[in-house]
């Protein structure tokens, strides 16, 4: 039964995500982590924000140009991402900052 619930939950996640993607971009080009597909590895194009300290902080975690990143899931409007060998939860504003190739 639990498995069933899990499946429903993850299905729901993926569909809502796809809907989001199509509304933002018809060609499904992914600009930033906000639009990323779950479970797919992307390469970071750049990290752009006026908050230089945040950009530097992300750098120390290994989140910078050329590095791989995977979106694990979206939980309560935050994005769980895998960088290097760790999981982080970031909010949508921060996910927007991480541009993908």
């Amino acid at each position: 039964m639990n498995q069933a619930v899990l499946n429903i939950l993850s299905d729901k996640k993926t569909t809502s995500l796809q809907e989001k993607d199509t509304t933002i971009s018809a060609q499904r080009t992914v600009n930033s982590l906000v639009e990323a597909e779950v479970n797919k590895e992307y390469i970071i194009k750049e990290v752009i924000s006026e908050d230089a300290e945040m950009v530097n902080f992300l750098f120390t975690l290994g989140c910078f140009k050329g590095q791989p990143v995977t979106l694990i899931s979206i939980l309560s409007e935050t994005f769980v991402i895998a960088i290097k060998d760790a999981r982080y939860s970031i909010d949508a504003d921060l996910a927007q900052v991480v541009k993908l190739v």
């Binding site: 619930v5 899990l6 939950l9 993850s10 996640k13 479970n39 590895e41 924000s49 908050d51 230089a52 300290e53 945040m54 530097n56 902080f57 992300l58 750098f59 120390t60 975690l61 290994g62 910078f64 140009k65 050329g66 590095q67 791989p68 995977t70 694990i72 899931s73 939980l75 309560s76 409007e77 935050t78 769980v80 895998a82 960088i83 290097k84 060998d85 760790a86 999981r87 982080y88 939860s89 970031i90 909010d91 504003d93 921060l94 900052v97």
Partner: protein
């Protein structure tokens, strides 16, 4: 000799520190638990050296980068205090990030020993690390450790290595000579190469069978526990269970036993004193000291069970998920998800909670969190909750749960008000939190942490609470002419004289009697005093096992002695929990807020919230239960409306400020 423990957040530094020093510093399975450095002597049985070795536990850091403020304490310590050796604790399941910091530490010219920690998790993940090659390439010793294990944990081997290398000259595998350290761009270019170096090193030394970005069972668990709609109800059920076990089921069983002992002590001392001792002294000792302190200590078992359960929760990794659930709500009111960390720590004591706000970068968010953290019921408030839940609500678990959630609701409301007053409604901030892996919580660690908190509780009860109870007993025994008050004339005592004017203000809240006012006042010295003072002024020595009560106090139960309805009791509880915390916590607020306007604004806000919340609880509750209005409704309403009006005027001012700012931006 001085050894510094440095490493990434949640790599297990404090666990390792506790293991080698025998200390009991607070540990949690999430980032940012340690906020200031802690020192301790390494136990003699794990090192053979003559002299003493001091270990210094530092807050976690991801880098030594001069451009991030998170790591300031660590950076300054390593630069200024020059430890003899650095133990770099590395989470062995995350080499590719951790070794970045390692290569920076190796540049400092201080010998480094790497503790490859969480070694037990490697096997589970089917990962192997070639430590011989790793040590060779990095140019420093590498020791596998599992700091959470009691034996065969590699810690003695680690200390042996520390002693070996203390005079060594290690060569950094990667050096930043010739790099302009003041220029962000050139440092970043260089650090990109550093990450490249680490990546190659990891490729050569680590064999992973499962890619770390693959979906795991843990990720599935997250989908439920931190689910948009399920997350909050699950958290409520978890908290309710914690209270149910500690206050309804397991706690009272232990409390009954302890209560019996305290009653025994009371009877023993009473018989030892005999009739020859002056009634004043015997009352001071029996009712004031044994009775008052005993009433507080009587709640120790309930609190220990609760602390134990909270320690298990913290150890499991669940708290970081709570931060995710809360971020959505906190963000809407201008706080950061990180604000939850001080609040979780604040469940133990508000002081370290308030101090933990240091890790929040944004000044307004930091100050708002420091000012609102005391709304979360701390350990000292638990006896108060337990007393009222026990006496008026039949030990129901919903009382404590409701108080926690009311605390969270008031924090959200408070943050909303602050963001409007400061005129920063539109400002945006980022939230990022490392998600620790879930793990099966350690019963042993929870027991150790519970015992250490219990010890602190007993010490407090035996010192500050004892003194306060003695003072209360003396003040209620004498009148202003320093004569013993006659029976039936208790209203003439010094205590009654001091508390009566306050009691007058409390009539609209449903508890306008001097005894309850006195207990609320002593509560500002320490919240446990509320229980102690109530015990003294009502002559009740035991709130939990009340069979013997009729003999001592003449009433059949505590509720009738206090003369409160359940609604008024709830209102009194609300008042004590949500008015300002104890003076020590206000002192911590002062230190962290660094601004008098914020401090006094904060304290006034807490008073206002506590007053209005208690007023609403009492008046609405009375209307609902009896169909009529409570005492002093009209003039209480006037006070509350005045408070709301003041708040609105501040908000209006803030809104103008916001408009002015946006106009400025537009121009």
């Amino acid at each position: 000799m001085k050894v510094a423990l440095a490493g990434n957040p949640n790599s297990g530094k404090t666990t390792l520190f506790n293991a080698i020093t025998g200390k009991v510093e607070h540990v949690g399975n999430w980032s940012g638990v340690t906020i200031s450095k802690k020192e301790g002597q390494i136990k003699k049985n794990i090192h053979q050296s003559e002299g003493e070795i001091i270990a210094v536990d530092l807050p976690g850091a991801y880098s030594m980068s001069p451009f991030t403020s998170e790591e300031t304490i660590t950076r300054n310590f390593v630069h200024n205090e020059k430890p003899d050796v650095i133990i770099n604790i590395v989470d062995s399941t995350n080499l590719s990030r951790s070794l970045f910091f390692t290569t920076q530490l190796l540049q400092l010219g201080i010998p480094v020993v790497i503790a490859l920690n969480k070694n037990d998790l490697l096997k589970k993940k089917k990962t192997t690390i070639d430590i011989v090659q790793l040590a060779e390439k990095l140019g420093c010793p590498v020791v596998e450790t599992t700091a959470t294990k009691n034996s065969d944990n590699g810690l003695d081997k680690l200390i042996v290595k520390v002693l070996e290398v203390q005079d060594d000259k290690q060569t950094a595998p990667f050096d930043d000579q010739g790099v302009d350290l003041t220029d962000v761009k050139s440092v970043q270019d260089f650090d990109t190469k550093r990450f490249e170096f680490v990546k190659n090193l990891v490729n050569e030394t680590e064999t992973r069978q499962v890619k770390s970005s693959a979906q795991t069972k843990q990720d599935m668990a997250d989908r439920i526990l931190a689910h948009k709609w399920l997350g909050l109800p699950i958290f409520a059920v978890v908290m309710w269970s914690v209270f149910s076990i500690s206050q309804t089921h397991l706690g009272p069983i232990f409390a009954d036993i302890l209560g019996g002992w305290i009653d025994g002590l009371y009877t023993l001392v009473e018989s030892l004193l005999g009739d020859s001792v002056s009634p004043f002294l015997s009352a001071l000792l029996l009712d004031g000291i044994i009775g008052g302190v005993g009433a507080v200590i009587g709640f120790l078992p309930l609190i220990m069970v609760l602390f134990f359960l909270l320690a298990l929760l913290e150890d499991s990794g669940y708290m970081a998920r709570v931060a995710i659930i809360m971020d959505r709500f906190f963000k809407k009111v201008g706080l950061s998800g990180k604000s939850i960390i001080p609040m979780v720590i604040g469940t133990g004591c508000a002081i370290p909670g308030i101090m933990a706000t240091r890790t929040i970068q944004n000044v307004r968010q930091r100050r708002t969190t420091a000012m609102l953290t005391p709304f979360i019921p701390c350990g000292a408030k638990l006896p108060v909750i337990a007393l009222f839940a026990g006496v008026f609500f039949n030990d129901a678990a919903w009382v404590g749960t409701l108080m926690y959630f009311a605390g969270i609701a008031l924090i959200i409301f408070g943050a909303l008000v602050v963001v409007r007053i400061t005129g920063e409604k539109e400002s945006r901030t980022f939230f990022i939190l490392e998600l620790p892996e879930y793990r099966f919580p350690s019963v042993q660690r929870a027991v150790v942490s519970t015992l250490s908190r219990a010890k602190a509780f007993i010490i407090k009860a035996g010192t500050i609470i004892l003194l306060c109870n003695a003072a209360v007993q003396i003040m209620q025994t004498f009148n202003w002419s320093l004569q013993v008050v006659a029976e039936g004339a208790e209203n003439t005592s010094i205590l009654a004289g001091i508390s009566s004017p306050f009691a007058f203000l409390l009539i609209p809240l449903g508890f306008g009697v001097w005894q309850l006012a006195a207990a609320a006042i002593t509560g500002f010295i320490a919240k446990e005093n509320v229980v102690g003072t109530l015990a003294v002024v009502y002559g009740i020595t035991n709130f939990i096992n009340v069979d013997e009560l009729a003999l001592v106090s003449g009433g059949s139960d505590v509720a009738s002695i206090m003369g409160l309805t359940s609604v008024a009791a709830l209102s009194y509880l609300v008042f004590n929990l949500f008015t300002p915390p104890c003076f020590a916590a206000i002192g911590a607020m002062n230190a962290e807020l660094e601004n008098k306007k914020w401090l006094w604004g904060g304290v006034a806000f807490q008073f206002g919230i506590g007053y209005v919340a208690a007023f609403v609880t009492y008046q609405v509750g009375t209307l609902m239960t009896t169909g009529s209005l409570g005492d002093g409704m009209i003039y209480g309403l006037i006070v509350c409306l005045a408070l709301v009006a003041i708040l609105l005027s501040f908000i209006k001012k803030g809104d103008k400020e916001e408009q002015r700012k946006s106009a400025l931006c537009a121009a």
